[in-house]
């Protein structure tokens, strides 16, 4: 990315959504450029199937085009909302549930204090998330990854790892508490 494009004025997600409501195709293309790679990464990580991941990726953006007003900028963050939908659709596909699942989450509010509308901000947050995950003990990190990327519940993780259910619950609880603390601490130190 050239320095010029890093500093150029960028339309906010909310402004782009408003343009999509007015059927502006360029606005959708801009949002796609902004978040497709991020969604593609999580879809591929969950599905491990590029073709299916790309089909879901295309459909998520097409649904955004068809029903942009389902996302309410006043209720939260667009990338967070897109990632919640992408993850649920991928996990649902993985488990051979309804491939259109995730739709029930379309109205879900997703509030995020992380602004990742620019590639630079995405990179910065990526570093923070990875570093927050790295601070976790290996077994906590593994539990978080099984829950997030494989869509496993407490008891499924216990069956998968062979650990007692109580241990898994404590492990995951500690992991999310540490992650929350670390992400907020890093956010505070960078602002």
């Amino acid at each position: 990315m050239s320095p010029e494009s890093r500093t150029e004025q960028r339309a906010s997600d909310a402004a782009l959504i408003a343009r999509i409501v007015r059927r502006d195709q360029a606005a959708l293309a801009e949002l796609y450029d902004r978040y497709a790679c991020m969604l593609s990464s999580v879809l591929n990580r969950i599905l491990r199937d590029t073709q299916v991941a790309e089909e879901i990726l295309q459909d998520i953006f097409f649904q955004l085009w068809r029903n942009p007003s389902r996302f309410d900028p006043a209720r939260g963050s667009l990338p967070g909302w897109l990632m919640v939908i992408a993850r649920h659709r991928a996990i649902s596909q993985l488990r051979r549930h309804n491939p259109a699942a995730g739709d029930e989450l379309a109205e879900a509010a997703v509030v995020s204090t992380f602004n990742i509308e620019s590639a630079a901000a995405q990179q910065q947050l990526l570093g923070r998330v990875r570093s927050a995950l790295e601070t976790l003990p290996a077994e906590q990190r593994a539990a978080i990854e099984l829950a997030y990327f494989e869509g496993m519940s407490h008891s499924e993780i216990a069956r998968h790892t062979g650990d007692p259910l109580g241990t898994v619950k404590t492990r995951l609880r500690s992991a999310v508490e540490t992650l929350k603390r670390n992400l907020h601490a890093q956010a505070a130190s960078t602002t």
Binding site: Q25, R45, F61, I144
Partner: protein, 266 residues
């Protein structure tokens, strides 16, 4: 209303999909009635969603965007034609005079016939537009398929050509683990990279360079490290001395600035 969850982490565990059974049910019952906790869940969703960033970076193929935008264009045109149809189906106003025998006939037969004809015309017209859109979409798909077929043909030509050199790239001491190879054909001006390197550190990218016998290195692709494979056209006639992968600031640099991770002599 049942009680607020006693542990804040429950919101994150719910967003993560880990909660189940009675714990999940109790939280859902409470969320339906408590705006304050619904807000906490929305925040937890936002926080947990960011875990997606831990996934190794995978750029979608450019064909996805092409297909999406073709689909969007077809949809936009279909909507336009649907919104035009009701406007053009309006019938002319009848003359204002006392209804006679023929007027009654007109009202009873001619007007409905015109209305039916107008509706049929509009329907056929909109079907025609729809088919046009579908045809345009298929045409675009065909173009994408053609370009994929061309790429496959290029790979076959590169692999089969006697002028193609295959250069293994070796890991440099102290650098992230990885191995790769480059197939290069100076006459055809084509290069194919295939390899696997440990994911690049945050805010960094790997960059492949063709180092000519004389002149500055030429960038031949920026990537983030994982099993990677791509093919690209190069200026024909460049005789490489070596190929190298360096670690650069995210997005790559015009010339190498970082340490060399892999190197192979041509």
């Amino acid at each position: 209303m049942n009680a607020h969850p006693t542990r804040e982490a429950d919101f994150d565990l719910y967003a993560l999909g880990a909660l189940e059974g009675d714990e999940k049910l109790a939280l859902e019952l409470h969320l339906a009635e408590c705006a304050q906790c619904a807000r906490k869940l929305a925040e937890a969703r936002g926080r947990i969603a960011m875990l997606a960033l831990a996934a190794p970076r995978v750029e979608p193929s450019p064909a996805v965007k092409h297909r999406l935008m073709a689909q969007v264009r077809a949809d936009a045109e279909a909507r336009t034609s649907a919104s035009v149809a009701p406007a053009s189906s309006r019938l002319p106003q009848s003359r204002e005079h006392a209804p006679g025998f023929f007027d009654r006939w007109r009202t009873a037969i001619v007007v409905p016939a015109f209305a039916l004809l107008a509706i049929a015309t509009i329907w056929l017209w909109s079907q025609n537009r729809k088919l046009d859109n579908e045809l345009a979409y298929l045409h675009l798909q065909m173009k994408v398929q053609k370009s994929l077929a061309q790429e496959a043909q290029d790979v076959a030509s590169l692999v089969e050509s006697r002028d193609t050199v295959t250069v293994p790239l070796a890991q440099q001491p102290g650098m992230p683990a990885g191995s790769a190879q480059v197939m290069y054909n100076a006459k055809m001006g084509m290069l194919m990279y295939e390899g696997e390197i440990a994911p690049a550190p945050p805010a960094k990218s790997y960059q492949l360079w063709v180092v000519p016998a004389d002149g500055k290195p030429i960038s031949a692709g920026v990537f983030s490290g994982r099993p990677d494979h791509w093919m690209m056209k190069m200026p024909p006639g460049v005789e490489p001395r070596e190929f190298a992968v360096s670690l650069e600031p995210a997005g790559g640099m015009p010339q190498p600035t970082g340490p060399m991770v892999l190197i192979g002599r041509a």
